[in-house]
Amino acid sequence: MAKTTTAGTRDLDRAGLSDERLVAMLRNMLLQRQLDNRGFQLNRQGKIPFALGSEGHEAVQAGAAMAFERGRDVLVPYYRDLGLALGVGMSPFEILSSLFARQTDRSMGRQFPNHYTNHDLGVLSISSIIAGHCTHAVGVAAAFKYRGEGGRAVLCTTGEGATSQGEWHESVNYAAVHGLPIVFLVQNNEWAISTPQDLQMRVANVADKAPGYGLPGVVCDGFSPVATYAAMNDAFVRARGGGGPTIVEAKCYRFLSHSTDDDDRTYRSREEIEERRKMDPVPRFEQVLIEAGVIDEARRKQLRADVLRETNEATDAAEAQPYPPAESLYTNVVAGDYQPWQE
C-alpha cells in the first residue's frame, strides 16, 4: 500500500547540493523572474500580444530542474514551465524568440508562447490542451523501459487543475500498472484561472490521489527550491532505478493573473495574494543563501545584474529577428510535399 510522505523544510538543509548548485538554482530563479516580467512588460508596451507568467513557481522549477539529468531525462512540460525550460538548458533567446514569434523560434512562430519544443534537450512539444501531454510522457517512459534504458526518467508536469482531466487519470494509471520511470510533478498554485482547488477536487492534497493508483504521493514545499529538489531527486532516483512512478505535489502560488488576458481582481482577494507574497521564493532563497554564507550581498547584486543583462541582450537579439515568412505556413504538415488531393 502506498504511503503519503511530506518532504522538505524551509531551512538550509541543502539536500547534498554543493554551493555551486545552490547558486545555480538561485540564478535560474532570478532569470525566470526577470524573463517573466519581461513578457508582461513587452505585452504592456504593445510589442507582443500575449504573455503568461510563472511568478511563484520559481522554486519548484529550479528545484525540479536540478534533479533532472540533462542528456538522459526527458521533460514533458506544461505552459507555466519557464524555469524548467531554462533549467534544462533552453536559452533566454529561445524564450524571447517564442514570445516575439520570430523565425528563430524552434516552432518558427507557430506555437503560442510558453509551448516550448527542443528535441536536442529532450523537451517535448506540447499543445495547449490541458493534460493532453501526460500520456505522451508515459509513452516516452514506456520507450525507455522497453529499450532497457535504465537510468533514464521522464518528468511530466501539470498544474493542480489538470488532475481533474480524464487523461491525467489514464496517464497515471497506465504508468503505475506498467511501473514506468516517470515523475508526475503537480505544481499546485491553488488556482486554475479563476477556479480554486476546492471546486476542482475534494481532497486537501493532489498527492492524496497517489495511493488510489498504488503509487507514492509526496507533498513538498514549492516555495523552497531545496525542498523541491529533495523530493524530486528521490522520485527521479526511484524512477531511474526501476522503482516506478511518483506523484510529487509542490505547493506554490500563482502571484500574477493567469495571463495578460486575465484580471484576477474579479475572483480572488488582494489579501490572499499579499499573504502569499510574504513567502515569495525569490527574495527568500537569496536571503537563505546569504544567511548561510553561500553568497554575499555583492554576489547577489551581481547575479541580478547578470540576468538583467542577459534578458536585455536576448530581448534585443530576438526582437531584431524577422517574422517567419508567410509561405512557411505550408510546410511540415506531414513529411514531404503535402496536398490532401494528390495529383
Binding site: M108, R110, S128, S194, L329, V333
Partner: protein
C-alpha cells in the same frame, strides 16, 4: 475588422449591441425566464467566463445555476447530458472550441444518439456553446474552427450565427430545442460586430439561411466572421457593377437547401467561403448538394474559398494572416466568378 456593421435587411427597432452582448443578454434572459436553465463550464462563475459573457451571473443566480466545473470537458458535457435527460436545460460552455476534443465522445457518441437509441424514451435538450475561429492571435490552439468535425453527425444541430440579432434568435431557439445543439460563436466578431437587436423574446427557426444581401451575378454562401467580410467585398463590387448575393448560412446542420438552390438557380454561379480548412469542410457538402441538384443550372465551376489544408494558423502575424481569408481575396474570387 473593427466596427463592422451587422448585416442589413432588418428594419428592426431594438437596441444596438455587439455579438458578445447579444450572447450575454440572451443567456441572462433565459436564466430569468426558465428555472431549468443552468450554465456550466470552466470559469463561468466569479470570473464571468474568459470573455466576461457571464459576468455578474454568479451573484445574481447563485452557484447552483452558474457552475464552475472541474477542468474536464468530457464531464462538462456528460454531466450536462445527464441533467438534460432528467429534465433540466443545461447550457454547457467549452472555454475555447479547441478544447472540445476531450468531449467528443460525449457529444458524438452520447448526446447525438440518445433520442435515437432509446427511440424517443429519453431526449437530450442540451446547448453547448463555444467560441471558435481565428484572427485574434490565438495560434494553434486558440483559433480552430470545428464545425466540420461535427456536421456529419446525425442527431446534432449546429448553429453559427454572425450578427447580434441572429445570435439572440438562434440561441433562444437552441435553448428551446428538445435536442442537442452545438452553438458556435466566432470570437473575432465578439466585439467587432455590432447590430440592432429586436426587443423581447423571439426565436429564429433552425435550418434557415438568410439572404443578407440580394444580388444577381454570383451567389456567395458564408457564415461567421467571413460573412461580414463577404458583405464588405460584395459592397465594394457594386462599384464595378457586379451584383453579389450574400447568403448567411447560420445553421450548419441542418442546412437550408431551398435558399441556396433558389439563389444559385438565379445567379448560376456559386462561391462558398469558410475559414476552416477546405478539404472536407462544410463547403464540400454544399458543393456536392448543388452538383447533385442543380448541375445544369450552373454557368461556372463551384468555387470554394477556404482555409488552407494545414493544421492551424500560427502565432506569428504573417502566419495568421496567410491562413485567414482576406476581403481582397473574396473580392477577387467574386469578380472572377462574375466574369466567368
Amino acid at each position: 475588422m473593427a466596427g463592422v456593421r451587422a448585416a442589413a435587411g432588418a428594419a428592426q427597432t431594438g437596441i444596438t449591441m455587439t455579438n458578445v452582448e447579444a450572447v450575454r443578454t440572451t443567456l441572462h434572459d433565459a436564466l430569468v425566464r426558465d428555472e431549468r436553465v443552468l450554465i456550466m463550464g470552466e470559469d463561468v462563475g466569479a470570473r464571468g467566463n474568459v470573455f466576461l459573457i457571464t459576468k455578474g451571473f454568479l451573484e445574481e443566480f447563485g452557484p447552483q445555476r452558474i457552475i464552475d466545473t472541474p477542468l474536464a470537458e468530457a464531464s462538462i458535457v456528460g454531466v450536462a447530458i445527464g441533467m438534460a435527460m432528467e429534465g433540466l436545460r443545461p447550457i454547457a460552455e467549452i472555454q475555447f472550441a479547441d478544447f472540445i476534443y476531450p468531449a467528443f465522445n460525449q457529444i458524438v457518441g452520447e448526446a447525438a444518439k440518445i433520442r435515437y437509441r432509446s427511440n424517443g424514451d429519453y431526449t437530450c435538450p442540451l446547448v453547448i456553446r463555444t467560441p471558435y475561429g481565428g484572427g485574434v492571435r490565438g495560434a494553434l490552439s486558440h483559433s480552430v474552427s470545428i464545425e466540420a468535425l461535427f456536421y456529419h453527425v446525425p442527431g446534432l444541430t449546429i448553429l453559427a450565427p454572425s450578427t447580434p440579432a441572429d445570435i439572440k434568435g438562434l440561441l433562444n431557439a437552441a435553448i428551446e430545442s428538445p435536442d442537442p445543439v452545438l452553438f458556435l460563436e466566432h470570437k473575432k466578431t465578439y466585439r467587432s460586430v455590432k447590430g440592432e437587436v429586436p426587443a423581447g423574446y423571439y426565436t429564429i427557426p433552425i435550418g434557415k439561411a438568410d439572404v443578407k444581401k440580394a444580388g444577381s451575378d454570383v451567389t456567395v454562401v458564408s457564415f461567421g466572421y467571413n460573412l461580414h467580410q463577404a458583405l464588405d467585398a460584395a459592397n465594394r463590387l457594386e462599384g464595378e457593377d457586379v451584383s453579389v448575393e450574400v447568403i448567411d448560412l447560420r445553421s450548419i446542420r441542418p442546412m437550408d437547401k431551398t435558399t441556396i438552390l433558389q439563389s444559385v438557380r438565379k445567379t448560376r454561379k456559386l462561391l462558398i467561403v469558410h475559414e476552416d480548412n477546405k478539404f472536407g469542410g462544410v463547403g464540400a457538402e454544399i458543393a456536392a448538394m448543388v452538383a447533385e441538384e442543380a448541375l445544369f443550372d450552373l454557368d461556372a465551376p463551384i468555387r470554394r474559398l477556404a482555409g488552407p489544408d494545414v493544421p492551424a494558423m500560427g502565432y506569428a502575424l504573417p502566419l495568421e494572416e496567410e491562413f485567414m481569408i482576406s476581403t481582397e481575396e473574396m473580392v477577387g474570387a467574386m469578380r472572377d466568378l462574375a466574369k466567368f
